[in-house]
Subunit: 134 residues, 4 copies
């Protein structure tokens, strides 16, 4: 059981969103942040680093944005729909860009393949949570 | 001259956006992140902390989002319009929420007054940069 | 299999540290960051929030420091021992402080009990990795 | 007057450290974080990016660590000496490594020269604050 789930299980108030969906989105965000942080570094270790500059840049953005989004949706106290919705939108857009770019290098680099998969999963999780908020 | 300006002055390529506008937006984001980090802590030191919970929560979100947005717009290499635009939108929305809440406490707490002003300035800066991108 | 493990499995170079130990430390850091982010928010939702101010403050520090440390040790390219060692030291010290404080509230608040456990596990992981680096 | 100064001026309690020294350290940390974020990106835009990999990596660490340290020392509520001291130590060590590396490229790249200067100034600020804490 992930810490996201354990922490939601012990939250002192009720919340308006399904706890299972919220926890799985937090986990997808944390996973994607980790994959992107590592992938940017893996790219820096590749001999063809000059061809991976766009991938490095987008993974840096995506890692920061996923970490920030995980923080925002983990905070349930005095929930603000405008903050949550626009951050999920930014995060989904970034996961899309980062996932598209990583996919370009998936055949050549195993780390980009794994990272692309994490980005796709996270993009879907953000969109599912946005849909559930409506 | 701020470091945002100095670093943009030494950037090796050209960029499509006015450097002065970009630098002043980065500075507004960094200022707002600092104001929100400090304001959340100031609130925790107030005797009426229970009435400031919403302010603390929004300031935590706003600090993280401003720092992340500053990083995204500081990266000019292989610029991605979807990432930049949606992050500026999320940041403006959060500065709005955080600024509105801080303003509620501005008469009673000087730190909330200063923070509200930083949030307003940052919201405007994000919206101006979005307008210039079109 | 965690993303930390998957990404280390596809890293293009060799590294001097045991990959299993490194991956489990990254996972402990990510878990602790999530637990601390959520616990600070849970505390804000409690009626006795004024008694939890120290816990909130330390959890905020601990969340930021764990996330930053996870980033530092995830980057294996051009590894710098001074950066890694001092960050692990700061992270272990912070997990100790945060874990001690959360433990004070563990009987009263389930979220503090879960968070204390995450802090203890993360402190141990940081110390084990430091020991393995020598 | 920087926001660090304005926010410390409106802090509701007293603190044990000189406010001017604290504010100038926060400003040095924020400046260094900005310089390192931009320098990593500038390096990615250079034709000899493969020779700048170590610089990119250290600037990424340094940006994250400076931002986290600025947060830690901005929080004065329930100050914890172990957290503050070990983070300042980690930050000074990282600014040293990052400053040394940037200096290697200062003749060739103006952005590395500016960034090296920000790292040196931040390292000194962290060490001065540590000395004042004793």
């Amino acid at each position: 059981m992930s810490y996201a789930t354990q922490m939601l299980d012990t939250y002192p108030r009720t919340f308006n969103i399904d706890a299972g969906l919220l926890a799985s989105t937090i986990d997808a965000l944390t996973d994607c942040a980790q994959a992107c942080t590592a992938d940017a570094d893996d790219d820096l270790s590749e001999q063809n680093v000059a061809e991976l500059v766009k991938c490095i840049r987008l993974c840096m953005d995506c890692a920061d944005i996923c970490t920030t989004t995980a923080g925002v949706i983990s905070r349930q106290t005095d929930y603000d729909a405008n903050v949550t919705r626009t951050m999920l939108d930014a995060c989904a857009a970034t996961c899309k860009s980062s996932g598209d770019e990583c996919e370009q290098h998936a055949m050549m680099h195993g780390h980009c393949r794994v990272c692309a998969e994490a980005c796709r999963r996270c993009e879907r999780a953000c969109r599912d949570l946005m849909a559930a908020m409506k």
